[in-house]
Amino acid sequence: MNGIHDKMLIGCGAGFGGDRYDAAGPVIAAMSGFEGPKYLIFECLAERTLAAAQLERLREPTKGYSPFLDKYVEPNIAAALKAGIKVVTNLGAANPVAAAARVASIGSAVGCGPFLVVAVVGDDIRATFSDADIRAASWIDGADHRDKPILAANAYLGADAVARALQAGADIVLVGRTTDSALVLGPILHEFGWRDPDLLASGIVCGHLLECGAQVSGSYFADPGFKDVPDLAHVGFPIAEVRRSGDVTITKPADTGGRLDVSTVTEQLLYEIHDPSAYVTPDVICDLSGVNLRQEAADRVSVSNARGRGRPSALKVTVAVDDGWLSEAEMSYGGPNAFRRATLAGEIVLQRLQEAGVRRPVAFDIIGAGAALGRGHAAYRDGQDFSGDDFRLRLALASPDQGEAERLVDEVRALYTCGPAGGGGFRSHFAPQLATGSILVPRDQVEPHVELHRVPGGTS
């Protein structure tokens, strides 16, 4: 296929693990009639979910891939393979090889074949770096967790690793930790062989715009009466049309909800970006500061003028560590004087924890009084009063000591009989806490490679 097409399509079927399972259907249908190369990505891997997957793999060596894998693959694999759409996804999480086997098994079960599933491995650096090496590295981005037990350390692989899997003939590529944009730039490298930094930068921008699913096409945008978005119940996920020349247009399937215009694309372009002139990826350092967006037609926005320069000599590695326990507990108060009853309940628990010797910070929120904006205890102590008849006390505590963390839940629960009048609706959450930090490692010390999983001919 390489070398003969001027245009390729890349659709997105998921922007996080937990995105709508039925979102990919209209994307596959819309791309099916296109004669050139076409790809579908599922981006489902966050830093904390990768660490959780590592722990699962330690417990069960055939697991450790995304718990969402079946939900995205099962309903879509037959239609995608039939249409000649290649799938690139990080559903491999901590175990891309096991994920490839699982995908092969799902595909066989629904009558697909022959097809080739390729796993990309090598992002897990603990085979080559000891815990002592990791602790000795310089920790960046302000979080230093070198004193805590290391659970996982995964390098962000770039698009080269994805392209290598496609060059091996993959119909479906399972990766673990790559940059999200590599899921998109990898197929572009495979089809168009780009090396020019400006072209690479436009591929990264394309990936950045697709990687959060419908966040570019109208979701996570609506603000009723100010920014209205039609039919979010059926929001259309994005499809990029990428030309060999570097031109990129973002669109979405016809007859889907959402909206795709300069406003929605601008919000997503800057999402999680710091200095727009120095957006660092393993593939290229991008300058997004001059990017132009143009509405070509309804629900079609062209993206141009990304610039690139060089690529970093080091790769970023996310290190996940055991960070003790997190507990959260809530109780609601309604009716007259509810705000003051809720704050009294919180003060009672704080006093009880203090008397029990708890010295760690306790988050004290009143939901309904600015809690989502992070306006906590200090605001309530300052005597701010809130009118209303529905407030919910929320307390949270992190501790390396399980018993101390549990104590918070116990004290909030006991408000049922020992707290102010009318408390109800107690809920709690108690779980181990994973913290993450980042280190840099030399690029040449990370060696991705691919493993092939061939599925013989089926009936479809």
Binding site: P276, G374, L397, S438
Partner: protein
């Protein structure tokens, strides 16, 4: 405030989105209309944004301008309680930080720029 101007919240003339990376939050502020751009470019300074986020322990705020997109990008450091994996906050990602900023800052606009006001604000019959 002169009689020819009006004070509105930033939310009335701009939109935005918050993102998180570790303990760093970024918030975009995008003018709805072309002539809203000079207003936000002039009035929404790094210093004012820092004032909004001061209670959150923010160490530094950086401001980047993308005039062709009518957009500002603010990088707000150390204000997310350690970040999504460590924070004790209800909203551990700080997803609501964009609306915190849009609601907390006020801007002064000329009265004849009523067309800048988005949606419901524009329909406000009390406009002088």
């Amino acid at each position: 405030m002169s009689p020819q101007t009006r004070i509105v919240t930033l939310h009335a003339i701009a939109h935005g989105r918050a993102g998180d990376k570790g303990n760093v939050c970024n918030v975009s502020v995008i003018a709805y209309q072309p002539d809203g751009w000079p207003i936000i470019d002039k009035q929404v300074t790094a210093e004012r944004v820092r004032g909004v986020f001061e209670p959150y322990g923010v160490s530094r705020v950086e401001r980047y301008a993308l005039p062709q997109l009518r957009a500002l990008n603010f990088v707000i450091r150390d204000g997310l309680g350690g970040g999504v994996n460590s924070s004790l906050a209800l909203d551990r990602h700080g997803k609501a930080m964009s609306f915190l900023l849009l609601g907390a800052l006020e801007v002064e606009i000329a009265s004849d720029l009523v067309h800048l006001l988005a949606g419901r604000e524009a329909g406000d019959a009390s406009f002088p």
